[in-house]
């Protein structure tokens, strides 16, 4: 393909030492997938370098080459002009490269301090015994410097996802690295934490250091990055100073087409409620959550991280025990005590954490797609595998899932395509009520648009009702007919799309923020 713009590798080197980190003609092949082909990438001192591309474009793969996790099949990696090899993660650390991976790599049973300094424990005189006092002190200092309030002695498994992400960031910064690579660091963060992160990034960058920043959130990139490199299908499209490109241009290069933004759903007439939830409470978070969902409606759930949206969904489908609450479907009260009940009643839940709650990574696309509807493929008690594969293939086509076949193991798909498999599972089950929890988390702009179209089609044409939980406000405003806003386990308001603005949502989402509720036992 033709490479648009200047070829970065040909550019004269400005710093005498050469680029901080450079990939030249790097290729990486996985069975059936060419993840990177002949990619050049140059990171200079002082940059915040955004790396963008659709799901499966090869961003994470390139970074894993820098992290010493993957060995390239072709090409070389250079540091300050000299070729280097990175056979292990340790060698990357030693080369001054720190990586915050897309997936968390934390030891849940160890404390925050132990996690941050694993492999570099301070020792008591004699060099045999650990100096845990010093360890905790150093960790406390580091977290303090970053403006993060986490007790270094607490077990990481007890932290929220956002806190865990901050621990990852602290750990990466605790190395005296010159290169900091962040693979979608904000996917689990709220606005305030994103601000903290940006402050940390600005403080980190000096002429001798640089950051690689991967994200699907364009506003963030516009705000923080000084340079942007775009990948598509494992190939380099372009690399430019941020100021020379507009977001639509970047998106265009990522997907090769234009994407509309700033749309709002058409106002719709009220219909009969299919689901009514009253006084749903759980120990210890949810308090008296009540709402209704109308047929053919998309009900958005907005709120900050930890507001209780996921917990509402999980309590509703019976995945977690509730302390009180009444659910009515189509006017009849129903009892949902486990997810099986929910599925039977036609409620499907797409978890925000698809790897843990959505997919069977070790099984193939067909098995995952049919998991919730397996009994409909039975004849005389026996399953018909051919039928299962056929209908899975239909959904692969409908959702344009990128997979070589329905027999591909799901773990070999990229994040966005995995999301589509979960979606296919519930669409095949033909649920009337679908709960989408962060349906576009980690999904690129192109795929997002497809999912939006799909949600519209499901409600408008098929009369399905959708609860859409999302942390991206534009997305909620773009899709939801009504928006329920949560804060600290309560619904603080329900807005009609027409009256909703980002400001109003934010106001409701922070309504209880001043009240400091200590929920520790």
């Amino acid at each position: 393909m033709t490479v648009v713009g200047t070829d970065v590798a040909q550019e004269p080197e400005t710093a005498p030492t050469g680029a901080l980190l450079e990939a030249r003609g790097v290729s990486k092949v996985f069975p059936g997938v060419r993840a990177l082909s002949n990619v050049d990438f140059t990171l200079r001192g002082g940059e915040v370098h955004a790396l963008v591309g659709e799901n499966g474009a090869g961003k994470s793969t390139l970074m894993k080459v820098f992290a010493g996790l993957y060995q390239p099949d072709g090409g070389e990696v250079l540091q300050r002009g000299k070729p280097i090899t990175l056979p292990t993660p340790l060698s990357a650390h030693l080369a001054g490269i720190s990586v915050i991976h897309q997936e968390f790599f934390l030891m849940n049973h160890l404390t925050v301090a132990q996690n941050i300094f694993i492999g570099r424990e301070p020792k008591l005189p004699g060099g045999v015994l650990n100096d845990d006092a010093a360890l905790n002190r150093q960790a406390a200092e580091l977290l303090e410097r970053l403006g993060v309030q986490i007790d270094p002695k607490i077990q990481v498994g007890r932290l929220t996802v956002a806190q865990q992400q901050m621990v990852e960031i602290a750990k990466a910064l605790s190395f005296d690295s010159s290169v900091l690579i962040m693979d979608e660091p904000t996917a689990a963060l709220t606005e305030t934490e994103v601000q903290t992160l940006f402050r940390i990034i600005s403080g980190f960058v000096t002429p001798e250091t640089a950051v690689v920043y991967i994200s699907h959130r364009m506003e963030e990139i516009k705000k923080i990055a000084t340079r942007v490199t775009i990948l598509r299908d494992g190939e380099l499209v372009d690399s430019q100073p941020m100021d020379d490109l507009t977001i639509p241009e970047i998106i265009h290069m990522m997907v090769g087409r234009k994407i509309a933004s700033d749309v709002r759903p058409e106002p719709r007439a009220a219909t009969e409620p299919v689901l009514r939830v009253e006084g749903l409470s759980t120990q210890p978070l949810l308090k008296d959550v009540s709402f209704t969902l109308e047929r053919g409606e998309i009900l958005g759930f907005a709120g900050l991280m930890g507001a209780g949206r996921t917990e509402t969904a999980r309590a509703l489908i019976g995945a977690d025990p509730t302390s009180s609450g009444q659910v009515t479907m189509n006017g009849r009260p129903v009892r949902i005590s486990n997810p099986g009940d929910a599925v039977r009643l036609g409620i499907g839940y797409l978890s925000e954490d698809r790897k843990r709650y959505g997919l069977i990574l070790r099984q193939d696309v067909a098995a995952n797609t049919t998991l919730a509807s397996i009994t409909s493929f039975m004849r005389f008690g026996l399953l018909r595998d051919a039928d299962m594969r056929t209908s899975a293939a239909t959904w692969v086509k409908t959702l344009s899932t990128k997979t070589p076949s329905v027999r591909q193991l799901v773990r070999n798909l990229s994040g966005g395509n995995q999301q589509k498999v979960v979606l296919a599972k519930w669409l095949l089950r033909d649920c009337d009520i679908l709960i989408f929890d962060e349906p576009t988390r980690g999904i690129d702009v192109g795929a997002k648009q497809e999912i939006y179209d799909l949600l519209d089609r499901l409600t408008k044409e098929e009369g399905k009702s959708i609860i859409m939980i999302s942390s991206e406000m534009e997305e909620v405003l773009r899709m939801a007919d009504r928006i329920a806003v949560m804060c600290n386990g309560r619904i603080t308001g329900v807005l009609d799309n027409a009256e909703a603005t980002q400001e109003k949502i934010m106001e409701l989402a922070t309504q209880f923020e001043s009240v400091d509720i200590e929920r520790q036992a």
């Binding site: 092949v29 060419r34 996790l69 993957y70 056979p87 997936e103 599925v343 069977i360 098995a367 026996l382």
Partner: protein
């Protein structure tokens, strides 16, 4: 497409050279090859080895381990483990024996068979309940139940062997020959393997067991009543334990309350040699049978060669290691 380079670095995203759905067959092929090589070797050393009478007794000797390995496959598929097949067999065989023994129950054989199966199912139900509902770790729950079975067998039998010589026809279950030259026990094993294969691969029982073993939470969220299907896997395993008890006591014409200690290890080894992963999510019914036959081929061949018992254990240990290792190498050094 160029060949993939297995990177030793990557673990979470595992990829293989062989499409995954053929892997299990490959493992079985490998094991079958090992059995054949062993058999050829033994035959060269002692031509007697290849006589039909020896092969049929070798197969008969594999039956108990084979049956237990079949049941275990379901539990292992869910990512669990069951240590009760060995001493559970002791307990269920004693129960069967007490029911039919002329000295005690003196009831018809079929009542004893039902009793043994029911006892096995009950054992599995307890195991499954402890694990699926009371959330105990499978290894520790079944370890405890193993001790309970052990004690129970001894208590029930009064510490003595229950003789079944006087129960006419009981020994025919295992050693009779409906097909001349083939002991019934072998035929029963084959039939059970077919049934287990269908249940594992063609019904929701197996499908759910494998799903649970791969990702229990995702399976639950998909509306599957995970606990119930998990219990069922243990119940199936328990029933197979009961069957193994019937076959064992039929073969010996007696039920011995201490006989079975350590047998679970052979059953686990058989399942693993045959390609079932202890991590769950994968199972091979055919492999379990082949695994049991492999173990018995080693024991029998070495006995025929006059090799002493202690060396036989060393050889079996080495064969298990080699089988697992070859499998790992073939998959490109991957853990799973």
């Amino acid at each position: 497409m160029s060949a993939a380079t297995p990177s030793t670095a990557d673990v979470s995203a595992t990829r293989f050279l062989v499409p995954d759905r053929y892997k299990v067959f490959l493992q079985q092929g490998m094991v079958l090859l090992v059995v054949i090589v062993l058999a050829v070797f033994f035959t060269i050393m002692r031509p007697n080895f290849a006589s039909w009478s020896n092969i049929s007794s070798l197969l008969l000797a594999s039956v108990v381990t084979g049956v237990q390995a079949l049941g275990l496959s379901f539990v292992i598929a869910t990512g669990g483990i069951d240590l009760t097949p060995g001493l559970g067999m002791a307990a269920t065989s004693v129960i069967t024996a007490l029911i039919i023994s002329t000295e005690f129950g003196n009831l018809p054989i079929w009542v004893g068979i039902l009793g043994g199966l029911a006892a096995g199912a009950l054992l599995g139900l307890i195991n499954g309940t402890l694990i699926a509902y009371l959330k105990m770790q499978p290894m520790i729950a079944t370890l405890a139940m193993m001790m309970v079975c052990w004690g129970a067998a001894l208590v029930l039998a009064g510490g003595k062997t229950v003789s079944l010589r006087a129960v006419e026809g009981y020994e025919l279950i295992a050693i009779g020959q409906v097909i001349p030259g083939v002991p019934n026990g072998v035929i029963i094993l084959v039939l059970l393997a077919i049934i287990a294969g269908i249940v594992m691969n063609k019904t929701v029982v197996g499908r759910y067991a494998l799903a649970i073993g791969s990702n229990k939470e995702a399976t639950r969220i998909s509306g599957v009543n995970v606990a119930r299907w998990e219990v069922l896997a243990y119940v199936i395993c328990g029933i197979f334990t009961g069957i193994s008890g019937i076959l064992m006591s039929s073969r010996l014409s007696a039920a011995q309350p201490t006989l079975g200690q350590g047998y679970e290890m052979y059953a686990i080894a058989a399942a693993v040699i045959g390609g079932t992963s202890l991590r769950g999510g994968r199972a091979s019914i055919f492999g379990a049978v082949i695994g049991a036959v492999t173990i018995q081929t080693i024991f029998n061949g070495l006995t025929v060669m006059g090799v002493q018992d202690q060396w036989q254990k060393v050889v079996l240990g080495a064969v298990v290691l080699v089988a697992v290792f070859v499998d790992i190498v073939r998959r490109g050094g991957k853990e799973e």
